[in-house]
Every structure is written in C-alpha cells, then in structure tokens.
Assembly symmetry: C2
Homo-oligomer: 228 residues x 2
DNA sequence: CCAAAAGTGTTACTGCTACACCCATGT
DNA sequence: ACATGGGTGTAGCAGTAACACTTTTGG
C-alpha cells in the first residue's frame, strides 16, 4: 500500500443546525458561547463524538442537551475539515440539521445556554466555519423537502393551509399563489382535513390539517413532491 | 457546558466511490485488498486523512495513488461512523465519489492494486460499510446530475448523442426515447455540435458533440437540467 | 441493393400558471 | 353592516410523452 504514516488521530465534532419556523420566517437556533475559544460569539450548538457512539446519536444527544428535545428529525449535512477551523486542536466536524417546531417546543428550550432564534437571513456572523455549515444545511433542506414530506416536522401536528404555504415560501424564498398551492397539495393526497378550525387569525376561522403518514406511504409516489 | 470528557481521538478515513461509464453500464472501480484486515475481499479505494490535509485533498490524493488520475471531479457523499466498522481501531470514514471517463483514462489505471471495474448492479459484496457508501453515492449522483452538467465528466471530451443518452439511462436506470432526449438536450443549448463524425459504430457515422462550459454559464438556467 | 444505425417532427395530453370573486363570522 | 381573512374554479399555455419513417453509406 502507500504510506499512511502521516495519518492522524483527531477530534470529531458534531454541530447542529436547528431549523424552526415561526409562521413567517425560517429560523435557526444559535447560542452565545460561554466558553473559549471565541467566548461571547454566536455559534451553532455542538459537541464531540464519543467512544462507542455513532454520529447520528451524538447529534441527537447534543440537540437534547441544548434544547431538551428528543425524537427530532435530523439529517447529516456534511463534514467540514479545514485544517485550522478549530484553533485549539485539529478538529473535523460533521454537521447535522434538525427540524423542530418552535411553537410546541419553545417552552422546553432551556435558557441555560442563551440560545436564541434568528431568521436565516439576518443571523449574526458565526464562529469557525459555521456560516458555511448553515448554507449547506439550507441547500440540503431545500433538496430534501422537494421530494420528501419533511416540512411537516417544522409545523405543529395540526396546521392551516396558509401556514403550510408560508413554510414553503420561507424555505424556498419565493411567493406562491394560494389557489395553486392548495390545489397541488390536495392532489398529493397526504393530508387529513380535520373538522376543527383555527380561529386565532380570522373571524371565519380556517380549517386545520394534519399530515397523514398512512396515506403518504400507501401511495407509490413520483419522485417529486412539490414542484414550486 | 456539558461533559465532553468521553470525547475520543480517532482515525478519519476517506473512501472513494469511483464511477465510470463504458458506453453501456455505470461502473465502479473496486480493489481486491492486499492487506489486513479483510485481505482478499473487494473494497473501495481508501486511505486516511493526514495532518494538515483537508478531506477533499485526501480524496484527491487517494484517487491519484490508485489510479494515477488528477483533476477529477469529486464530491463528498457523507460520513459513516458505525462503531465497529473497522475492527482494528475506531475509525470514521468520509466517502467521496469521483467521476472518471473510462475510455480516456483506462491506460493510466495502474494494475498494482488489482483494481477492476464492476457494473454497479452486479458488484461483489464489499467490506465494512462500503456497500452502503456506494448506495449513498449513487443517490447523490442522481440528485446532482439532475441539476448540474456533471454527466459529461463520465464521457470523453467528444461524444455522440447516443452515448450521452445511454449514460443518463444508466445513471437513472430507465430507458428513454431518443427523439425526446435529443430535443430536450438541444433545447438546453449547452452542447457544441462538431463537424466530426464517429464512424466506429455505423456506416453512416454519428455526429460528435462537446460540452460547452461557456454556453452553459452564459445562460441563466432553471433549477432542473434534465427532467427524465 | 441491402443492412445497420442515424437522424428528424407532429400530435395529444398533462400539468402548471395566472387570475378575481364570494363566503363566513365577530364586532 | 362591514371588515377581515378563508375558500374556491377555470382557461390558456407550455412542456412532456408517444409515436414511424427516411437518410446515409459501406460492403
């Protein structure tokens, strides 16, 4: 074989891009670092891979530590390996993104770590290569949401059509026609229309829907979920 | 912060899924391992990340060692971290895929490592988690080739329409109508039609085309390249 | 002149886009 | 009664899919 003598044992970090949706904008959760290096700057939540732990588990663990949340959709984004990305010691980091629903879970969000939600567009600059991670995560989210019903992870169990539309508008940064949107979503036949109405935002009230995983799996589905 | 005392320094490997196209089938390059562990079994080419080296560079280096090829399109697939994936020592591996054009480069392929091309469908079982890596790589290739002109990396500089069609058929494992295919490709306006003909496969001969990066970049392009 | 592959257009259909008005309700 | 947001349908258009015959030329 060839010479591997220069191979190196290094730390593997895991950083999490936590996406949320407040009904208007796509948000990310950031913390103000209370420790060195870069104390006081904004960063993603993160930690290190442990012995006998798989990356996915590390990501889940880290998310749980910082937010108290379990059972959250997470997906690997990529691995970032700039030699000097961490000034302390050679550290490579694998990024994961998480989709959480702000409304239902905001109470659980511990304030211990001065975590705060920022709109994706006007988040402060982040430490290390975290900005790059966020950009990559957003790209991956867009691609994934085109073909899989993951948007619902960002919404409460029950939601109005308008909220769903706003969500896709926020993810893809476009504006959509509500009639076309509703027609398309209906044609997918993956939502259950409830009898309940949400009356918080209008006198008439708007019907609530729920994602129906059964329906979704029953239908053999074309490659694309929503072509916006 | 929380307890990171269990964090671990580990080896970071890089494994490369080398895709090629022989005019008919999509292929991957495998080596028969001449070293332990798993000597004699088939595997991807791989190596370890070195000090002061970025993952992308490691992938490039490893590809070059095994194939003699430089300047090859490579892209990160993901990072695989099963605790026992390598029996010797905790090793996490980041997979990259490479697109190379078998015809032009086969002579350079060194035989030192008993490297061999296999059709993606009937490749032998691979060591560790390499089969999973291949599946992931193929998924990523499909997604990428939908929106970016990377298919050409798998073809010689000059190619016939039929070859291009066969390539897409091989990647997506579908069969396409040649008239529709040609019309669509033409409408993209990213190929230069040459005056030369390839007469190896018919008496009439078929025109050769070349990917025109200039044309490609000039046009502001919709999200999708080829909807097959 | 025959075999073998290359090259070429049209039609039907499907799905997307654009667009404006009435409905239900609480105050 | 009116103000507010919710809900609905259609027609034009564009892009996709299906489809078969003619051309070239070497042997």
């Amino acid at each position: 074989m060839y010479d591997d003598s220069d191979k190196e044992r290094l730390l593997l970090a895991v950083d999490c891009i936590v996406f949320g949706f407040d009904g208007e904008k796509l948000k990310i959760l950031l913390i103000k670092r209370g420790f060195e290096p870069e104390r006081g700057k904004w960063s993603l939540i993160g930690g290190f891979l442990r012995k006998s732990e798989v990356l996915q588990d590390a990501a889940t663990r880290i998310l749980s530590v910082y937010t108290g949340l379990d059972d959250i959709y997470m997906e690997q984004v990529g691995t970032f390996s700039d030699v000097d990305r961490d000034p302390e010691e050679r550290t490579v980091s694998t990024a994961y993104y998480a989709l959480i629903n702000i409304a239902e879970h905001s109470q659980k969000l511990s304030h211990r770590y001065s975590a705060q939600w920022f709109s994706v567009e006007d988040a402060p600059p982040l430490i290390f290569d975290h900005d790059r991670m966020v950009r990559h995560a957003l790209e991956r989210l867009k691609i994934k949401a085109e073909t899989e019903p993951i948007g619902f992870e960002l919404l409460p169990d029950k939601f109005t059509m308008l909220r769903l539309q706003k969500l896709y508008e926020a993810i893809y940064n476009v504006s959509l026609d509500k009639r076309n949107f509703i027609n398309k979503v209906r044609s997918l036949d993956i939502l259950e229309k409830l009898d309940e109405k949400d009356k918080t935002s209008s006198r008439k009230g708007s019907f609530l829907y729920r994602f129906d995983a059964e329906k979704y799996h029953r239908a053999e589905r074309s490659r694309s979920l929503l072509n916006l």
